[in-house]
Amino acid sequence: MADLSLEGKSRRLVLTGQAPRRLLRSLLPALSLVLILIGIAWLNPRAMSYFGFTLMLNLAIPIALATIAQMFVMTGNDLDLSIGTFVGFVGCVTATWLREAPLIGALMLIGSVGVYAALGALIYLRSLPSIVVTLGMSFVWQGLAILLLPKPGGAAPEWLQQLMGLKPPWIPFPILAAIVIAAVAHVGLMRTSYGTILRGSGGNPLAMSRAGWSLFKTKVTLFTLAGMFGVASGLALIGTTTSADANIGNGYTLLSIAGVILGGGEFVGGRVSPVGAVLGALTLALAASPLLTFMRIPPDWQVGANGAILIIVLAARALLSRQEALTQ
């Protein structure tokens, strides 16, 4: 009897020490988003409206989708350095072939998802570092995009423009889209049984293969999912901007990695959070330009200021995880 009460006591002590920090850590993505929103509201109250959000967050949808794509790759302890140029390539296909010859365009996009699956297989079978493979692929996608669209131009298919221009009642479309994206990815990766296996393959690959699971299958699945969300990101981007440019997605590679990390994910260990990743992407999208414009920071300085915000937010996150590690 004495043992039982002792166990209970020490457990409670652990909880009081550990839980607030873990809670804070999981709330950090939401907290940083709220902070940015408060900043915007303070600088420009009129931005806090249906149209304000629609305008400010329009470009957040493709960033959120690219971030989810990156998150799948990072779940398996890999990194995709080609997601940015891949989004650009998809954009160029969308603005040219998908509009003029929808069937061929659709086949090209499906084929590009197939290439992602094949990359996953290659990385697993030959034990190649994903950074090297995807860095190489980033130039392939860039080259293909330039072949398709040497000069900025093209046009988004009508249906895509209409989809991205939807005006649902009450809730601005980008917010609705972000909720749907987060919910789909969360249920798929965090709630389904195979999602558990996918995360396990990043947490302890050896144990997973000993338990009889195929690491080849998990790797290919993760890369296929990344390809699919990459295609969705490219479609959303072109639906919003209505025309394409071979370099249009280049910044997404680093934005997507930062979004995953900001959202509570880790580079290794299969530790990711889809909801956090979407929140991270929204935060970055808002911090990137609306906030800085409202702060009257000249465009020349915006890129640098954007970097500074990134460093501050990521440093806050790193600080929290270090404290968490110390208490263990």
Binding site: L6, Q18, T196, R199, A207, A211, G269
Partner: protein, 495 residues
């Protein structure tokens, strides 16, 4: 009881396996009957773990026959092993740290289907934890990386015993108690007794020979990839086992040779009060003393070692340390070794200041220091320039001892340093510690093994982050430590 032929669970014949030039297994036969518990002992590197990987189907032997329940299995592998009811708890933890307890249970049971998979996996593991470790304090939603190592080990063990679609016939437990404290280890071993009585078979690997002798029907001793002795457990005792394992019959404890009484005049090295200590009780350590820190695992012993280490460079009001300090980690994989570095670099890192040549580290002096310690404490390697991971676990631990002892530190803090180390290496380490105290070094020794406390001059028992008892060597008994650790009435401890 001896099994008849029909009740054979697993029969391995003439199993051989090579890794490069090393013959890990050299024609091993193994036979386990239904309801039989077989103990497997041998030094680190004797081939026990390799053999168990063959049993689990995670390693394919170069040659030999495998039969399960009398049926030959030419294409034996891990999925088939699971279906045939063979389970394994490996020495290195095989849980996914990023997943919850329930999710880790699911990984083991792909048979669980449907939308309620999570609930079913939760119930499954929860029930088994309750059965084996009553009062365990683990929830199915707890994420593994937030649990201390002892609780991870409990989850791992409980998971191996969960049953869904396929029967459970044989469980291999490879050092299952190495991360558990004596109470949970006792719970586990009595559970093993119960299921073996119920007809399930068990292979138990342990360096704690008493566990083997008390719980197994039959004992097999391995050395250099062969079975060198086998027979009914009753026919063995501790000394015969150690003999068969190929060690020199080492003295039971070095304590007998130590001068029991320390000179009162020896200068004080450490005075420390744990952070949660409410009364004025302090830990004191003098020159040449070995101080034991006892109690259940995770009750503040390791934290005090870390606090003392910190205080050596930044004094605090509750800890006073005189002289340089070195620490030897027990969890060598995560806290001890630098896995990318050579043995020599791993040994020399604590002594870099003395090995410098201008701005650079002198490679020859580094190698010289490493070779000197390799000889002194017998690290088994052809070349100290090899990667540290080329060493077996026990030899890696020796390298960590060399790192601390080669330094200028007069105070050595040890955080359960012999965890998972074989008996022969343990004795070598005890002697090493003994020799170093004669040079005036002071040791603080946190250990979960009762036997090792017998090597200490004084023992502080910890509970809930506080020192609750101070025992001199002549007052040390297992009962005294258990009593202080649990704070139960004396008449309850015998239950």
């Amino acid at each position: 009881m001896l099994p008849d032929k029909a009740a054979e669970i697993i029969a391995l014949g003439q199993i051989a396996k090579r890794f490069g030039a090393v013959r890990a297994l050299n024609g091993v036969d193994l036979l386990v009957g239904a309801g039989e518990c077989v103990g497997l002992v041998g030094h680190n590197g004797a081939g026990k773990s390799t053999l168990m990987h063959v049993v689990a189907g995670t390693l394919k032997p170069d040659s030999g026959d495998i039969a399960i329940a009398g049926m030959p299995q030419p294409d034996y592998h891990v999925t088939m092993a699971h279906k045939l009811g063979i389970r394994c708890v490996f020495q290195e933890l095989s849980l996914c740290p990023n997943l919850s307890v329930a999710e880790n249970a699911y990984i083991y049971h792909a048979e669980i289907k449907g939308v309620r998979w999570h609930q079913r996996a939760s119930d499954l593991i929860q029930a088994k934890l309750d059965e084996i470790f009553p009062g365990h304090g683990i929830g199915p939603a707890d994420v593994i990386r937030d649990l201390p190592i002892s609780k991870r080990q409990m989850v791992e063990v409980a998971r191996a015993f969960t049953v869904t679609a396929y029967p459970l016939r044989l469980v291999v437990l490879d050092e299952p108690t190495s991360s558990l404290d004596s109470r949970t280890a006792g719970q586990l071993l009595s559970f093993v007794r119960r299921i073996v009585a119920g007809g399930t078979s068990c292979i138990l690997i342990s360096h704690l020979l008493n566990e083997i002798l008390d719980h197994c029907h039959r004992v097999m001793v391995m050395r250099d990839g062969r079975v060198v002795a086998a027979g009914a457990a009753a026919a063995f005792d501790r000394d015969r086992l150690i003999d068969a394992m190929g060690t020199v019959a080492a003295p039971h404890q070095m304590a007998s040779r130590r001068t029991a009484v320390r000179e009162a005049a020896a200068p004080l090295r450490i005075r420390a009060r744990p952070a949660r200590q409410q009364d004025g009780t302090e830990l004191e350590a003098h020159d040449g003393e070995i101080i034991g820190l006892a109690g259940l695992s995770g009750h503040g012993q390791a934290q005090l070692l870390i606090d003392i280490y910190r205080a050596s460079s930044k004094p605090t009001d509750r800890i006073e340390v005189k002289g340089p300090v070195a620490i030897i980690a027990g969890d060598r994989q995560s806290e001890g070794i630098f896995p990318m570095w050579s043995i020599a670099e791993n040994i020399a890192i604590r002594s870099i200041a003395t090995l410098r040549n201008g701005m650079f580290i002198s490679p020859s002096r580094e190698a010289g220091l490493a070779r000197q310690w390799q000889e002194r404490i017998g690290i088994r390697t052809p070349d100290v320039a090899n990667n540290i991971l080329s060493l077996s676990g026990g030899n890696q631990q020796k390298a960590l001892f060399a790192r601390a002892l080669a330094s200028d530190a007069g105070i050595i803090l040890m955080d359960d340093p012999t965890r998972g180390v074989d008996v022969a290496t343990k004795f070598e380490i005890y002697e090493l510690i003994e020799a170093e105290t004669r040079r005036g070094r002071t040791f603080l020794w946190y250990t979960t093994e009762m036997e090792e406390l017998g090597n200490c001059d004084r023992i502080y028992v910890f509970r809930n982050g506080r020192i609750v008892a101070e025992l001199n060597r002549d007052e040390l008994t297992e009962e005294a430590v258990i009593q202080s650790s649990f704070h139960v009435e004396p008449w309850l401890t015998s239950a």
